[in-house]
Symmetry: C2
Subunit: 198 residues, 2 copies
DNA sequence: TCATTTATGTAGTGATCTGTACATAATTGG
DNA sequence: CCAATTATGTACAGATCACTACATAAATGA
C-alpha cells in the first residue's frame, strides 16, 4: 500500500511537530505558510500534498498537541484519587509545563486563535470547543465527587467548575506574559484555598 | 487654527468609537483596513489623514477603551474602601460588563492581540504592558493593605496579586467563550472565598 | 475674487497571503 | 526495461493586505 511512487523525503511526524510548535507560538493567523515550510524544512507543494491545507494542518497539529504536551493537565485531573487532588495537580502541571523554557509559554488551545478574522471563525470555534471540554470535564468530575460525598452537600459545582477553568485558562495568559513558575504556583495555592470547607 | 481648508465630513470621535468596537471584537490582526473603513463609514484616505496608520488607530482605540469601558474594573478597585471590597468589585464589574449583550464579550486588552505575527510584536507588547499594569496595581493595593493591617502579617501579596489577575484575565476568556453572567459571578464568589483568613 | 489649504473619492501601488500548474525525479509492479 | 504512481522544486496565479497618488471639492485669508 505504501510502496508505489517516489518516497517522501521528509519525516511527516517530525514536520507535524515543527508545525505544532510554530502554531503554538504564533497562533493560527500569526503563522504564514512561509513560516511553516521554513520551520518544517519542506517546500509548499510537499506540505500541501501531505497535509491538504493550512486549516487541516492546524487541526492535526492541535490533535497532536492535546495528545502530548497539552493533555498533561487533563490527564493529571483524571488520574488523581480525589477531585481536590485532581484539580490541584491539574493546575500545578499547567503552571509548571507552561513555564518550561523548552516550550512556548501558555496553552495552545487557549492562545492560538483567541482573535481571528470572520473567514477563520471555524478555527476559533474548534479551539473554543476544546476549552468547553475542559469545563465539562471539571464539571463532571465535581458532580461525581459530590455524589460520592467528597464535597459538602449543596456545593455549587457549576460555579466551582467555572472558577477552576477560569484559573486554568487564565494561567496561560500569565505564562505568556512572562510570569515565573513560582509566581504561578503561588497563584495555584491561592486558587486551592478557595476549596469549599467540608 | 481649525478653520482653514475643507472641513472634515465625519465625526472623528464617533469614527474612533466604531474602530474601537471592531478591534475589540476581532483583534488587531483580525481586523482589516477594509473592515475599519466600512465600520467607520469613511474611505481609506480619510482614515489615514485622521489617524496616520492602522497601528496608530489601534493604539488610540485602546486608549479610548481603557478610558471608558475597559477601565471600569480598575476604577472599581481604586474606589473601594478596602482592598477586599476593591478586588471583589473589580471582578464583579468585570463579569457584569463583559457579559453585556450590547458590547463585545471579554476585555479588549486581554483578547485583541494574544496572537500576532513577528511584524506586529510591538502591538502585542503594548497590550501586554497594560496587562502588567493590572498586576502592578493589584500588588500595590495589596501591599498598602498589608501595611495598614488589612491583611494578616506575612501574607504573600505577590502570589495573591498574581492569583487575582489570573482570575481577572481568565474571566475574559470565559466571557468570550459564551459563559453567562451568573456563571461568572459564581466563579467570582469562589475566587473571593480564597481570601486569606484574618 | 483668487490663492492657499485641507478633505474626499477613485483608482490604484507593491507586498504578502494561501494555494497550484507543471516539468522532473524517484520509486514499484509487471 | 517500461508504464504507472507519487514526491519534489520552481515558478507563479489570484486574492487580499496596508497604504497612497492624484484630481477635485470645499472651506478660509487676503
Amino acid at each position: 500500500m505504501a510502496g508505489r511512487g517516489r518516497p517522501r523525503r521528509f519525516d511527516r511526524d517530525a514536520a507535524l511537530r515543527a508545525a505544532m510548535r510554530v502554531f503554538w507560538e504564533h497562533g493560527y493567523e500569526g503563522t504564514s505558510m512561509a513560516d511553516l515550510t521554513s520551520a518544517m524544512g519542506i517546500n509548499s507543494p510537499s506540505l500541501y500534498a501531505a497535509f491538504s491545507c493550512k486549516e487541516a494542518l492546524f487541526r492535526e497539529a492541535v490533535e497532536l498537541y492535546v495528545r502530548t504536551d497539552g493533555g498533561a493537565p487533563q490527564r493529571a485531573l483524571r488520574e488523581a484519587p480525589t477531585v481536590r487532588a485532581g484539580i490541584d495537580a491539574m493546575l500545578r502541571v499547567n503552571a509548571t509545563a507552561y513555564t518550561d523554557p523548552e516550550t512556548p509559554r501558555g496553552c495552545m488551545v487557549v492562545l492560538a486563535a483567541t482573535n481571528h478574522t470572520e473567514a477563520n471563525r471555524d478555527i476559533g470555534d474548534f479551539l473554543a470547543e476544546l476549552r468547553r471540554q475542559d469545563l465539562a470535564e471539571l464539571r463532571a468530575r465535581l458532580d461525581a465527587a459530590l455524589a460520592d460525598g467528597e464535597l459538602p452537600a449543596g456545593t455549587d459545582t457549576a460555579g466551582l467548575a467555572r472558577f477552576y477553568v477560569t484559573v486554568l485558562h487564565g494561567l496561560s495568559i500569565q505564562a505568556r506574559d512572562g510570569a515565573g513558575r513560582d509566581e504561578l504556583l503561588a497563584a495555584v495555592d491561592a486558587a486551592m484555598s478557595a476549596w469549599p470547607a467540608p
